[in-house]
């Protein structure tokens, strides 16, 4: 009975948003009204939050439960089921999703208030759909359902990035995001199938060995790279910033992109059997963390800074998972969810005020929007890993386990990344909120309404506090963790302060002019060449479209041509034959005689 209650709660958490989304999709007048839809959606997400939190409290420490129905039968035998897996991991993640989603939706009430009403309705419908998809993924009892949720969040990401579909760049960004993640998802599919074929199930803890394990997990990891924006499949994430900022906060910072890491945590039993994969993961994570940090350093778009920062932080998580410490990755995931959501929402608040993403058009906002500044500041500190904030604990754990399992080389590189993080965040913070006010004459920045500030406050709390729950979180996922001071942690803190100092040095006085330093400028030129982006563009426009062009030509002129020429030649043959039909009867008589001769010759000599 006890378990059943939890399942009901979790079920509500999963299906309430689905019901809402369907309801809003079908109740056209309601949706077109906009606000009504918004409130329905917010109400539903509050229900989700309540259910999630209750379930979390109720199910704390309880043994995992699974509940499912057969979804697919082959040869009359069930092979796959859909259902709920309720365990610590799922419950905490549900909580995170519920909380962040609630914050974001409430924030959106203010942020999106200027949208046309039908668009507003659409926006909240998508949001509900997203919450459903994400929760479906979170509670997935097997890899198949996980995949479904995985794809559905990809879909909602696509829809939400393309929310301003009339803007060509947004439309393009949405499609690009979908393509990239879909390309990576092919890996998921392959991994899924490989798992099924080798073990006969879709379970997260199926036992594989050797090459099969490596292949399967590698394939799955490709999907993770796509979803969690790991180098070199990260290119969609900066573009994804074309979506509304709350969307970036929820999907492209806190939850959806973290789904990849969640998979690594969820399917850790699988990955454990594949050391090669883990090794690759580690280095992909490290490279991403470093690369993205460098790129973030020279962005002028506030959201892009945050986007690359997300990339980098996901790189930390992946690296941690690659080091075999999925709990550390999960810890960082959770803390990151809060402070990055906070950062994005604060950035959203700013953007709402100045109507621009460009940091060069901001500055000096601390005077008009103090609370936002505070929120952003807290987020920045958390991200930098300022001692006591959430980021401090999680990053510390990540670095520590990496050092422990993988040695100094990756850990050292990640330390450099920590310094860079501090540097670019300081830059962003200073450029946005301090110095001269650069938003044109006709803009009148002002503090955002309460609906936007309340979530900020809530998340500020999260960003500051979650770090202290590290051990509980580890316990929930069946691990042991206890914070303790370590060498690498200390080093990280030092490096972080160094970055902060450097940032103050560069930008404290100079403001925007800080970007003019030679190092940064050369970095900017290098990064702006955007080799990765161009490689993709070239692959698509030259290779893929080239193949497509030749296929189409081949089809039209060779395949169809063969057909057409068959017809054409038959018609010509008909005309040729008709040429024998001269109209001269003597020819006909001659034909009779020739026919007779032919008959006789052939008949008598056969």
């Amino acid at each position: 009975m006890h378990n059943l209650a939890i399942q009901h709660l979790v079920g509500v958490a999963v299906f309430a948003p689905l019901a809402t989304a369907l309801f809003l999709a079908l109740a056209v007048p309601l949706r077109r009204h906009g606000w009504a839809a918004a409130y329905v959606s917010v109400a539903s997400v509050l229900v989700v939050l309540a259910a999630s939190v209750t379930a979390l409290i109720q199910g704390w420490g309880a043994p995992p439960v699974e509940f499912g129905v057969t979804w697919l039968k082959l040869s009359g035998v069930p092979v796959a089921s859909l259902g709920l897996r309720v365990d610590g991991l799922a419950l905490t993640m549900l909580g995170v999703v519920g909380l962040v989603a609630t914050c974001v939706q409430v924030f959106s009430l203010g942020y999106m208030s200027g949208e046309p009403r039908p668009a507003l309705g659409r926006y909240f419908t998508y949001h509900s759909l997203f919450v459903f998809s994400m929760n479906l993924l979170v509670v997935a009892p097997n890899l198949l359902q996980f995949f479904m949720g995985w794809e559905l969040v990809g879909l909602t990401s696509y829809l939400l990035i393309g929310f301003y579909y009339q803007k060509p760049s947004a439309a393009y960004a949405a499609v690009k995001a979908f393509w990239m993640t879909k390309l990576a998802d092919m890996g998921f599919l392959v991994g899924l199938l490989g798992l099924y074929l080798s073990t006969g199930s879709f379970a997260f803890n199926a036992q594989q060995t050797g090459l099969v394990a490596t292949a399967t997990t590698l394939a799955l990891f490709v999907a993770v790279m796509g979803k969690s924006a790991q180098f070199p499949l990260h290119v969609w994430l900066p573009n994804a910033m074309e979506g509304p900022t709350p969307v970036s906060a929820l999907l492209h910072a806190a939850t959806m992109v973290a789904a990849g890491v969640y998979l690594l945590v969820r399917a850790a039993p699988l990955f454990v059997n594949a050391p090669t994969t883990l090794h690759i993961m580690l280095w992909v994570g490290v490279v991403t963390a470093l690369f993205a940090s460098f790129v973030a350093l020279v962005q002028t778009d506030l959201k892009r800074v945050l986007a690359y920062s997300t990339c980098a932080q996901l790189g930390y998580m992946v690296a941690a998972a690659g080091a075999g410490a999925s709990s550390a990755a999960y810890f960082h995931l959770v803390t990151h969810a809060f402070f990055k959501a906070l950062l994005f929402l604060a950035a959203g608040s700013v953007i709402h005020a100045v109507h621009s993403n460009d940091m060069r058009k901001m500055g000096g906002l601390v005077r008009v929007m103090p609370l936002t500044t505070a929120a952003f500041g807290v987020g920045t500190l958390a991200l930098m890993g300022f001692p006591g904030t959430a980021g401090f604990f999680s990053k510390d754990q990540v670095l520590e386990v990496i050092l422990e399992h993988a040695g100094w080389a990756p850990a050292g590189l990640l330390l450099v990344g920590v310094g860079l993080t501090s540097l670019y965040m300081t830059r962003a913070f200073l450029l946005t909120f301090f110095g001269a006010q650069r938003c044109g004459a006709h803009a009148h920045p002002h503090e955002s309404p309460t609906s936007m500030l309340a979530p900020l406050v809530l998340l500020m709390g999260g960003a500051l506090a979650t770090g202290w729950f590290g051990s509980s979180l580890a316990a929930a996922t069946g691990h042991h963790y206890h914070f303790h001071f370590s060498v690498v942690g200390g080093a990280a803190t030092l490096v972080s302060f160094a970055g902060l100092g450097l940032g103050l040095l560069f930008y404290g006085k100079a403001g925007l002019a800080g970007d003019e330093r030679v190092v940064l400028r050369s970095l900017a030129t290098f990064v702006n060449r955007a080799l990765v982006d161009r490689a993709y563009a070239w692959t698509f426009s030259v290779v893929a479209l080239g193949i497509a062009r030749s296929c189409a030509w081949f089809d039209r002129y060779i395949i169809d041509g063969a057909m057409n020429y068959t017809g054409y030649v038959s018609l010509l043959a008909g005309r040729r034959l008709q040429r024998f039909q001269t109209g001269n009867v003597i020819d006909y008589v001659a034909a009779v005689v020739v026919g007779t001769l032919m008959l006789l010759t052939w008949g008598l000599f056969q």
Binding site: T70, W71, L72, K73, L74, S75, G76, P118, F147, M148, E151, L152, L155, Y158, G162, Y165, Q166, K167, P168, A171, Y172, A174, V175, F178, W179, K182, L183, M186, L189, V190, L193, G194, Y196, L197, F540, A544, L545, I547, A548, R549, C551, A552, D555, R556, Y557, I559, D560, G561, A562, M563, N564, Y565, G567, Y568, L571
Partner: protein
């Protein structure tokens, strides 16, 4: 319940067609209502058939058997297996949607619906008839009305041949609707001729004096017949199934066909071809199939990728969808060629899923074309703001076609991919999965070009969203996509039952080889 459900399902459209001939032509509304009633009758009886079918028992059920030509052993032997149940449902859905989608047709609608209903009767017949001869006959009945349907109600999209192709192209009037109709008919009939020849050979070699598929399926055929007969059947049925070199009627045909016809044709008719390959080719000539299987599978894979790439290049909306059909039919053939339970289930389910999906696609394309008066996607843009429902449904269909979970397309593609992993030809999986990705590329590209981007320009002033009865078709099919994507067992359990019955025979032949 002793109603002859199958008989009603098959002959209700025919009777409706006859009734239509009596209905005065001036009363267009009556024509449409009568057609709708006929279509609904078939849908309802299809559902009843599904309900009456006992999955646990399996095999052929609801048997009806009447002699037609006793001298040749031809019988009207109607019976349904699990596959039949699912495909009947599909056909019922599509024809109802098709009639709804053409409710706005205002050009010789009586003849149109007569043809349409005759066609549908043929389709229903193929799925439930258990006599090879009548199978062929219904097949032809389903194929032939296409000629007039496309030729009269179709649209032209001339393709001027370039360079050395110019002369032949202009003489044949490539791309014209009459050209398309003729090409379609001739290519399919060449296929039919081959089928006919093999059918006669099978009938004579079995020597039982009957065309009963059960009997013919168990008969022993010489190695030569198996070896030669199978590729001919594959060619013959494959022509309709859009198999690679014989698919070339399909883009032009679909592009020229009117909405409901495209819906039915891509939605159901092409399935007849694939169904024929499986039902007659694989199941009756299993040894031949075993020998040719690598080629069949290889071509199927080629289909998937080739169709997708061709679609990527197209700028004509209908061509995009038409090539996507070619690509998806490859998935069916691929599933069939794997000779696994999962593959065959996937193939049949793909027929079902693709049928609904492409039906939806073509109904939407019809709407867009009707309102935009162009099919050139490059000229479009921003339509979503004027026709949100169409945009949504189109996206939904696109998602199903790229195999997004929660849509029917996912289930079938997933099953087929599982099958390719299980088959002896693991490499088939790679291009197949890649094909699914390319599908994502062209579908979303099309969505972006048509519905997204800056608002529709001045020339598209009479864009209106789907409304009234048009919504019926869209809603019906959209709901079906989601329903059967979320809960595939509604259909898959039937399919699975039949596959379990049928597959071992083919596998045994494979083993012998």
């Amino acid at each position: 319940m002793n109603w002859p459900l199958l008989g009603i399902t098959v002959f209700a459209p025919l009777l409706t067609a006859l009734v239509l001939m009596i209905v005065p032509a001036r009363t267009g509304l009556w024509v449409r209502l009568v057609s709708l009633a006929g279509a609904m009758t078939s849908l309802v009886t299809s559902v009843l058939v599904a309900r009456s079918y006992d999955i646990a028992r399996g095999g052929l059920q609801l048997v009806e058997d009447y002699p037609v030509v006793p001298q040749l052993g031809i019988r009207l032997h109607l019976a349904v297996d699990g596959w039949g149940v699912s495909l009947l449902l599909l056909t019922g859905l599509i024809i109802v949607a098709g009639v709804l989608a053409t409710f706005t047709l205002r050009n010789r609608e009586r003849e149109f619906y007569v043809m349409l209903l005759i066609l549908v009767a043929g389709v229903f017949g193929v799925f439930v008839v258990q006599d090879l001869f009548l199978f062929f006959l219904f097949y032809e009945v389903a194929v032939l009305p296409m000629y007039l349907l496309i030729g009269i109600w179709g649209s032209s999209n001339k393709v001027p041949g370039a360079g050395p192709f110019k002369k032949a192209w202009s003489i044949l009037d490539v791309g014209g609707r009459e050209y398309s109709a003729m090409k379609l008919t001739l290519m399919l009939l060449v296929g039919s001729a081959l089928i006919l020849a093999v059918m006669i050979a099978m009938y004579l070699q079995a020597g039982q004096g009957t065309f009963d598929m059960e009997v013919l399926g168990k008969a022993h055929y010489s190695h030569n017949l198996q070896l030669i007969g199978f590729p001919l059947l594959w060619w013959g049925f494959g022509s309709l199934g859009g198999v690679f070199p014989f698919h070339t009627w399909s883009p032009d045909g679909h592009a020229s066909a009117p909405t409901a016809v495209s819906m039915l044709h891509a939605g159901v008719l092409m399935k007849l071809g694939a169904f024929g390959v499986i039902r007659v080719g694989f199941m009756m000539l299993p040894e031949g199939a075993a020998v040719w299987m690598p080629l069949v599978g290889g071509i199927a894979v080629l289909n998937v990728l080739y169709g997708a790439f061709c679609a990527l290049r197209q700028t004509d909306l209908k061509y995009i969808i038409a090539y996507s059909s070619v690509s998806h039919m490859g998935v069916i053939m691929l599933g069939a060629a794997t000779l696994t339970v999962s593959g065959w289930n996937g193939a049949i389910y793909q027929m079902f899923a693709h049928g609904i999906m492409t039906g939806l696609f073509f109904s939407l394309v019809g709407l867009v074309y009707e309102r935009a008066h162009t099919r050139n996607v490059l000229a479009m843009g921003g339509f979503a703001s004027k026709m949100p429902i169409v945009a949504t449904a189109f996206t939904l269909a696109g998602l199903s076609s790229l195999g997004l979970p929660g849509t029917a397309g996912f289930v079938s593609e997933f099953l087929v991919f599982v099958a390719t992993f299980q088959s002896h030809h693991l490499w088939w999986a790679i291009p197949a999965i890649l094909g699914a990705f390319v599908t994502a590329v062209y579908v979303l590209r099309a969505v972006r070009r048509i519905f997204w981007g800056p608002g529709p320009s001045e020339e598209f002033h009479d864009l209106r969203d789907a409304h009234g009865i048009e919504l019926g078709a869209i809603m019906l099919l959209s709901a079906a996509i989601i329903l059967f994507g979320c809960w595939p067992r509604l259909v898959l359990d039937y399919v699975d039952r039949a596959t379990v019955d049928y597959l071992p025979r083919s596998l045994a032949a494979q083993g012998e080889k």
